[in-house]
C-alpha cells in the first residue's frame, strides 16, 4: 500500500461505529472534505467494518463470531440506530425521515465518497478478529491496514476524528 500524501490538507476519520446515525456524519464529513480538496482517509475498525461488508455475506469464523454477526448483521442497509432503534422500527423511521427531507442515505453518500477519492482502509486486525475476509467487503476499498498505518496518517492530518 502506498502512503504517499499529495501535499493537500488531510483528514483522517477512525470509523469505529457501524450505527446508522453515526454513518451519516462519517460519510457527510468525508465527502465534503474531499469536495474541499482535502486528502481524506477513513480507517474502518470494529463495528465500523460491518457496513462495508457486501449484502448477504456470511461473516464469522467460529460459533461466537457467527452469532455476533447474526445479532448484528453486516451491510449498510442493516445498520441500526445508536439509540431508540426499537428492533428496527427506529431505523426504518429515521430512513423515512431522511428520504422525506432529501437527505441521501449513507450507502449513497459512501459511494460519493469513493467517487471523490476518499480512501477507505479496513482494519486488518478487527477483520481477522470478527471473521471478515477482504473479498466479502465492498469494492473500491483500500488494502487492509493496521494501527501504525492509521497513526502515520493521523500524525500528518490537520483533522482527526473518531466516530
Amino acid at each position: 500500500m502506498s502512503d504517499a500524501t499529495t501535499g493537500e490538507e488531510m483528514m483522517t476519520i477512525i470509523a469505529f461505529s457501524g450505527d446508522l446515525d453515526k454513518l451519516w456524519p462519517t460519510t457527510i464529513l468525508a465527502s465534503t472534505a474531499a469536495a474541499n480538496g482535502m486528502d481524506v482517509t477513513v480507517f474502518a475498525t470494529f463495528w465500523g467494518l460491518f457496513p462495508l461488508v457486501k449484502d448477504g455475506e456470511k461473516i464469522g469464523h467460529d460459533a461466537m463470531t457467527k452469532m455476533l454477526a447474526g445479532m448484528n448483521p453486516p451491510g449498510f442497509t442493516k445498520a441500526k440506530l445508536s439509540k431508540m432503534n426499537m428492533a428496527g422500527m427506529g431505523r426504518s423511521m429515521m430512513r423515512k425521515v431522511a428520504a422525506k427531507n432529501n437527505l441521501m442515505p449513507p450507502e449513497e453518500l459512501f459511494e460519493m465518497c469513493l467517487d471523490m477519492g476518499v480512501k477507505v482502509w479496513p482494519c486488518q486486525m478487527t477483520m481477522d478478529l470478527l471473521g471478515i475476509r477482504a473479498d466479502q467487503m465492498l469494492p473500491g476499498l483500500g488494502d487492509p491496514a493496521g494501527a501504525a498505518t492509521a497513526l502515520a496518517r493521523m500524525a500528518k492530518s490537520e483533522i482527526n476524528l473518531f466516530i
Binding site: 457527510i28 465527502s31 465534503t32 474531499a34 469536495a35 474541499n36 480538496g37 427531507n101 432529501n102 437527505l103 441521501m104 453518500l109 460519493m112 471523490m116
Partner: protein, 75 residues
C-alpha cells in the same frame, strides 16, 4: 456575467449542494463562472466556506425567498 455552468441544487440537503459544486468546478476552466442555486439554508454559509477552502472566488450572492444564488469564479 457569463455563466459557464449552472449547478441546480434546489431541494438538495447538506452535503449535496457542496458535492455538486465541487464536481462542477472540476469541469470549469480557470476564470469561468458557475452559478449555484440552492434552497438548503445551510448553503448560505457552506458555499462561501467551500469557496474560501478551495481558493476560488465568490463574485456575487443573492437571496430571494428560500432561493440562494452564488456566482463563483474558478481560480
Amino acid at each position: 456575467m457569463d455563466v459557464a455552468k449552472t449547478v441546480d441544487a434546489t431541494g438538495q440537503k447538506c452535503p449535496m449542494p457542496i458535492l455538486m459544486t465541487a464536481k462542477a468546478a472540476k469541469e470549469l476552466q480557470e476564470g469561468e463562472v458557475m452559478l449555484i442555486i440552492a434552497t438548503d439554508a445551510g448553503a448560505r454559509s457552506d458555499v462561501p466556506a467551500w469557496v474560501t477552502q478551495t481558493g476560488n472566488e465568490l463574485v456575487e450572492s443573492s437571496e430571494e425567498g428560500d432561493v440562494l444564488k452564488f456566482y463563483v469564479r474558478k481560480k
